[in-house]
């Protein structure tokens, strides 16, 4: 059944607008993704407005391409310029740039692109098989199970993602409060609207996301001082790896794909964690660990593969449960909702066309990126050298127009600007903005399930433990909290010893 639907997905994809969207999305995603410091979340928010006027399927395909492109683009500047395009590419700087210095930068780029392609494909196959299974399991979830799962996911997210769990929790609470503003879906009560008509409909997620990630990034780059990076030239001929380099890349690609796939299922910065874990594993299994840092291809291919595989598997909780585990998936969710696609267990039964076209777009996007990245690597690297004065005005206007076009509302544009400034200040004082965004997305879901659970169990949450799935999540939450407290305690002791 799956094969038949996947073929149908490919057939849906084979229209001129959809194919164009796939190419344009992948190209633009890579183009913006190569900019030093601009991560996938910011790239996606820059590009989100461009999909406003497109048909749902086409918009979705374009966003998928942008996401993939942003992931691929990050490695280019890491390897060639030693400036990571995004956090997940930091680790690629170590051996990737060392390979560039050794005159093997082209081979590092080529093998990381091929490794990412293989890992991406493995990730999509995993997604294609696991997602429907998990979704059918999720159909048996009631409000109590959802509530227990949301609590468990958030505890993990706080523990893994935030340097300071208290600041992460604060941002999550703030996000939940923002999500409440407007007319209550339960009884129509106006909450926290303060007599402002525009607030009756609530604060839309897209302007908030574009502001927190896109506009704040524009402001950060705008007030910074631009230092043009020194670029190493790479010609098409340099991209050919040696037979030895190919041989040494096979196992790290497979290991990275597996590590990335499983870490991608966890809440938090899975792509970043997977690159660090993959690098550690490669170093540990290597017969020459002392050579890591001097230009070992295993140190580039493994983390790059892990990164791409994690991106694919992070789609599983998003598509099956409608729950984003990280900022890029939260923005992807915003894009889906913008096109009236609501991920969750029913997506597979109610909108199979959308799901399978999405999967087909992922396969095609992966191929397109491989085709684009190798011949156009010189162009992408040059984009990283462009002055912000040329790029920022264009990107700013795209953010403004796109946000305005959502509801033809200037109020949304004010929200975008306000959240951009807030995002800049919060980032400056180390308040993580991703939990805020996730709080905004999950707020209505948490409220809905909390209310239903309380009504169902007559005001008590204790009967939740009598339901096996909910009890399992509660037990996992308790274990996770205990683990995080233990890690924090050990870290504090270590810090005190270091001080002494």
């Amino acid at each position: 059944m799956g094969d038949h639907l996947l073929i149908q997905g490919f057939l849906n994809l084979l229209t001129v607008p959809n194919l164009t969207a796939c190419f344009v999305g992948s190209f633009l995603g890579t183009l913006v993704g190569v900019l030093p410091g601009v991560g996938p979340a910011a790239t996606m928010t820059f590009m989100l407005p461009l999909t406003v006027g497109l048909a749902p399927e086409t918009g979705l395909i374009m966003l998928t391409g942008v996401w993939f492109g942003a992931q691929y683009g990050g490695s280019t500047t890491s390897i060639l310029v030693n400036i990571p395009g995004e956090a997940a590419s930091v680790i690629s700087c170590i051996d990737g740039h060392a390979m560039t210095k050794n005159g093997r930068g082209g081979a590092a780029l080529a093998m990381s692109a091929v490794g990412s392609f293989i890992a991406g494909t493995i990730g999509i196959i995993g997604l294609q098989f696991f997602a429907p299974v998990l979704a059918s399991a999720a159909l048996s979830f009631g409000p109590a199970e959802y509530l227990a799962f949301l609590i468990f996911a958030f505890v993990l997210l706080l523990g893994l993602a935030a340097d300071s769990p208290a600041k992460g929790l604060l941002m999550f609470g703030l996000g939940m409060w923002i999500s409440i503003i407007g007319l209550s879906q339960m009884d129509g009560t106006a909450r926290f609207t303060y007599g402002v008509d525009d607030l009756m409909l609530g604060i839309d997620f897209v302007p908030l996301a574009v502001g927190l990630f896109g506009v704040s990034e524009i402001l950060v780059v705008g007030i910074g001082t631009f230092v043009p990076p020194v670029l190493s030239r790479v010609s098409l001929r340099d991209l050919y790896p040696t037979r030895e380099e190919v041989r040494r890349s096979v196992a790290p690609t497979l290991r990275g794909s597996i590590i990335g796939f499983f870490l991608g299922l966890l809440p938090g910065p899975a792509t970043i964690l997977s690159t660090f874990l993959s690098y550690t594993v490669e170093k540990r299994v290597s017969k020459t660990p002392e050579k890591f840092g001097t230009g070992m291809i295993e140190g580039v291919v493994g983390p790059e593969s892990a990164n791409n595989s994690a991106v694919m598997s992070s789609m599983i909780p998003l598509l099956c449960l409608g729950i984003p585990f990280a900022a890029p998936s939260a923005i992807m969710l915003a894009g889906l909702r913008m096109h009236n696609v609501y991920p969750g267990p029913l997506l597979f039964t109610d909108s199979p066309r959308i799901f399978w076209t999405f999967i087909a777009a992922m396969y095609l996007g992966n191929v397109v990126l491989l085709l684009l990245n190798l011949p156009l690597v010189g162009l992408f690297a040059k984009v990283a050298m462009l002055r912000p004065a040329l790029l920022l005005p264009v990107v700013s206007i795209i953010c403004l127009v796109g946000t305005y076009s959502l509801r033809n509302s200037m109020f949304d544009v004010w929200v975008m600007i306000g959240s951009g400034v807030a995002g800049l200040l919060l980032r400056h004082w180390n308040y993580p903005v991703a939990p805020l965004l996730i709080g905004v997305v999950l707020g209505p879901m948490v409220e809905n399930n909390l209310r239903k659970t309380l009504v169902m169990f007559d005001g008590s949450l204790l009967p939740m433990v009598q339901r096996p799935i909910a009890a399992g999540f509660i037990a996992a939450t308790i274990l996770a909290v205990a683990g995080l407290v233990w890690i924090g305690y050990r870290r504090n002791i270590g810090a005190r010893l270091a001080e002494q």
Binding site: W177, S184, R191, I397, L450
Partner: protein, 154 residues
């Protein structure tokens, strides 16, 4: 004796605690109901409690932490750019409905590029013209989205 001064980080935590407290009070006013019959204010109350408690934890951690030298907010001498960049964003909102999309965007891109120190006159003007016309064609003509039209119809 340590001088009791509070960093901006600390003031920010106090601000968040105040927001949490205020939202709690307003949530009570909305009606918390009972646990078996939750009112419209119950969930906001929990959200506010989360904000308040975590802000107090952050504040407590700041209080016991070794004071570090104050962090300069952003690169010295470039802070004014932040103010003007935000002003240009606001200008776009205010000008566009009057002048129409193309002219309003032209002005704002010109201001953006000069703020970001794009030298000369020709480059900024060309960039502003290309951006305003290009984005108009993309959003209005290709994607069929409504953009405010000025006296010139664009």
């Amino acid at each position: 004796m340590r001088k009791a001064t509070l960093s901006i980080d600390g003031w920010l935590a106090i601000l968040f605690a105040a927001i949490g407290g205020l939202v709690m009070v307003q949530s009570i006013a909305l009606g918390i109901g009972s646990l078996s019959q939750p009112g419209a204010g119950l969930f906001p109350f929990f959200a506010a409690l989360t904000i308040l408690l975590s802000a107090l934890i952050v504040l407590g951690r700041i209080a016991v932490a070794t004071p570090s030298p104050p962090q300069p907010p952003f690169a010295a001498g470039r802070r004014w750019i932040l103010f003007f960049l935000v002003a240009v964003f606001a200008l776009w909102i205010l000008v566009m409905p009057i002048t129409g999309f193309v002219f309003g965007t032209f002005i704002c891109v010109l201001a953006f590029s000069k703020l970001l120190q794009l030298e000369g006159c020709v480059k900024p003007v060309l960039l502003a013209a290309a951006t305003s016309i290009g984005i108009y064609l993309l959003f209005n003509q290709l994607l069929q989205l409504d953009l405010p039209a000025g006296p010139w119809g664009v």
